[in-house]
């Protein structure tokens, strides 16, 4: 059973600049600390509070949309759910195989062939070589790239690369899927086929969390939504209600 539970989760980012990252400054700082303490405290690493007291429970079948303007903490929340950022405080428990799909072509190598990239992408998704080989034919068929798969993908058009990335990324069904702005799929002819596959794929995933700026996308995929601002959840509820609230907030 897949489930996600967050309890009072907070995340803050240290913002380092060249000065705070250098050892020289740290040493000088500690050496001169006595005289210019006032200065050193203000020189302290500035901290951005990216998430504050997030409490959230998701279970089997939940489709959650994250809504909010840039910098509201949507991506950070996704990364916390994916286990990439460990929160500074609070409790988090995520059960089930989680796949963060922020960039479907993460890890693809321009100089490697299409087949090599299928393997590479599959490894990134947590598959073993053997598992990928078992799916290879199905993936290759779906891309309709034929003999191109033997060529390095730098010879592909952007749309062809997208097809490849899309085909591999939707070949593993995780328990929990984390999406940032949905999944793109290239040209129009392919679009129809891709949409079918995507629908079949997302149907099988037990929990999906999607962060998006597109109202339509959120409405079509998610039953529930949360509205975030300054790293906090300001409103949670059914998608339409939350979108309505967001529209009010933006002032139209």
């Amino acid at each position: 059973m897949a489930s996600i539970q967050l309890e009072n989760v907070s995340v803050s980012f240290p913002v380092y600049n060249a000065a705070t990252r250098s050892i020289k400054n740290r040493i000088i700082q500690s050496a001169t600390g006595g005289q210019i303490r006032a200065d050193t405290t203000s020189q302290r690493i500035s901290v951005v509070q990216a998430l504050q007291d997030i409490t959230l429970t998701l279970g089997e079948g939940d489709r959650l949309g994250l809504i909010g303007h840039n910098g509201a903490g949507k991506t950070t929340l996704l990364r916390v759910l994916g286990g990439i950022y460990e929160p500074n405080s609070g409790r988090i428990s995520v059960k089930g195989l989680t796949v963060p799909l922020f960039d479907i072509s993460l890890g693809m190598d321009q100089e490697s062939t299409g087949y090599e990239n299928i393997i590479l992408r599959g490894l990134f998704l947590g598959l073993t070589r053997r598992e990928i080989k078992a799916r290879m034919e199905e993936i290759a068929d779906f891309t309709e790239l034929g003999d191109f798969l033997d060529l390095p993908i730098r010879t592909y058009s952007a749309g062809m690369q997208m097809r490849l990335a899309f085909a591999v990324s939707t070949s593993v069904v995780p328990d929990i899927l984390l999406l940032d702005e949905g999944i793109g799929a290239g040209d129009a002819a392919f679009m129809h086929k891709a949409r079918e596959r995507l629908a079949r794929f997302t149907e099988k995933v037990s929990i999906i969390v999607l962060s998006s700026h597109s109202d339509d996308l959120v409405r079509s995929m998610c039953s529930k939504a949360i509205l975030m601002e300054h790293g906090q959840i300001v409103h949670a509820g059914p998608t339409d209600e939350v979108l309505e609230r967001y529209r009010e907030m933006r002032g139209f």
Partner: protein, 283 residues
């Protein structure tokens, strides 16, 4: 964690206390163990790192072998003259030392960049971060596998007596790699936070090359100075170079290397469990 932070305490210190709870220690162990389990991924990435450097060149990664061969020959002929050494013994000695040094130096230098260079992946992939240290190790092992042939070619040419001591070589390599792993984890972590670390380490490694008996023989230093025995790199090089040249390595070298291994891992483990979770924030 913020609730436990005391006023006026450096955030690094409070993170350190936080990181030493048993939960974090288990997390660090799990991270390394799970990193090992994802070996198909980091082996592929490591291989890709090597291949990328030599893509579309005719000889590909064999340029590693060739440039090592040129280096060894040039240095060997020159320094053999300067030090008035018998070329039959000096060249194999230099080739072995140089190849081992190459492995050590690049493991350390690239180990510093283990996390910095993979920043994009770290922020997008929910894999244990230790895979990036393993990746560095693997690509260095591949380069080493190309370089070692230079030694064997030189050794065959000059008729080095290969014997059963050669069996020590894989063991020595294994121990060197275990050392490489803690070095990548520790220095990779420190470098992610303090970006001067790779630069400092780089220049220290460069100096160490001249202090360590790679191009000169330990016997050339009168009275076996402290400089030699206190240099960890001397022992690391020697446990592998001696068996390559047909002699068993002295026990003191092995003992030194094993203590470096233990102390290194202990220190690394401390830091790694304390700050591992911060790496994603730092890169």
């Amino acid at each position: 964690m913020s609730s436990e932070t005391q006023v006026g305490e450096s955030p690094l210190l409070s993170q350190f206390r936080y990181g030493l709870r048993s939960e974090q220690i288990r997390g660090a162990l799990r991270d390394v163990a799970e990193g090992w389990e994802r070996r198909e991924l980091w082996m592929t990435l490591g291989l890709q790192d090597v291949r990328q450097r030599y893509r579309r060149s005719k000889l590909g990664p064999f340029w590693i072998t060739i440039s090592m061969a040129v280096m060894v020959l040039a240095l060997g002929l020159l320094y053999g003259q300067i030090f008035r050494q018998d070329i039959h013994e000096y060249l194999p000695f230099l080739a072995a030392g140089f190849v081992i040094w190459g492995l050590l130096a690049s493991m350390i230098n690239e180990g510093c960049l283990a996390f910095i260079q993979s920043d994009g992946m770290i922020r997008q992939l929910n894999a244990p971060v230790s895979i990036y240290a393993f990746r560095v190790l693997w690509s260095n092992l591949i380069a080493f596998a190309h370089n070692i042939w230079v030694f064997f070619a030189v050794a065959l040419w000059f008729g080095v007596d290969f014997n059963w001591n050669l069996l020590w070589v894989p063991l020595a390599l294994f121990v060197i790699l275990l050392n490489g792993l803690w070095i990548s984890l520790l220095f990779g972590l420190l470098s992610a936070r303090f970006r001067d670390v790779p630069l400092i380490v780089g220049s220290i490694v460069q100096v160490l090359f001249f202090i360590t008996p790679v191009i000169w023989r330990p016997e050339m230093l009168p009275g076996r100075a402290l400089l030699l025995d206190l240099n960890p790199f001397y022992h690391l090089v020697e446990i592998m170079r001696a068996p390559l040249l047909g002699q068993p390595a002295q026990l003191t070298h092995w003992l030194s290397v094993l203590s470096i291994l233990l102390v290194g891992w202990a220190v690394t483990f401390f830091f790694y469990s304390a700050y591992r979770w911060r790496i994603a924030y730092w890169v």
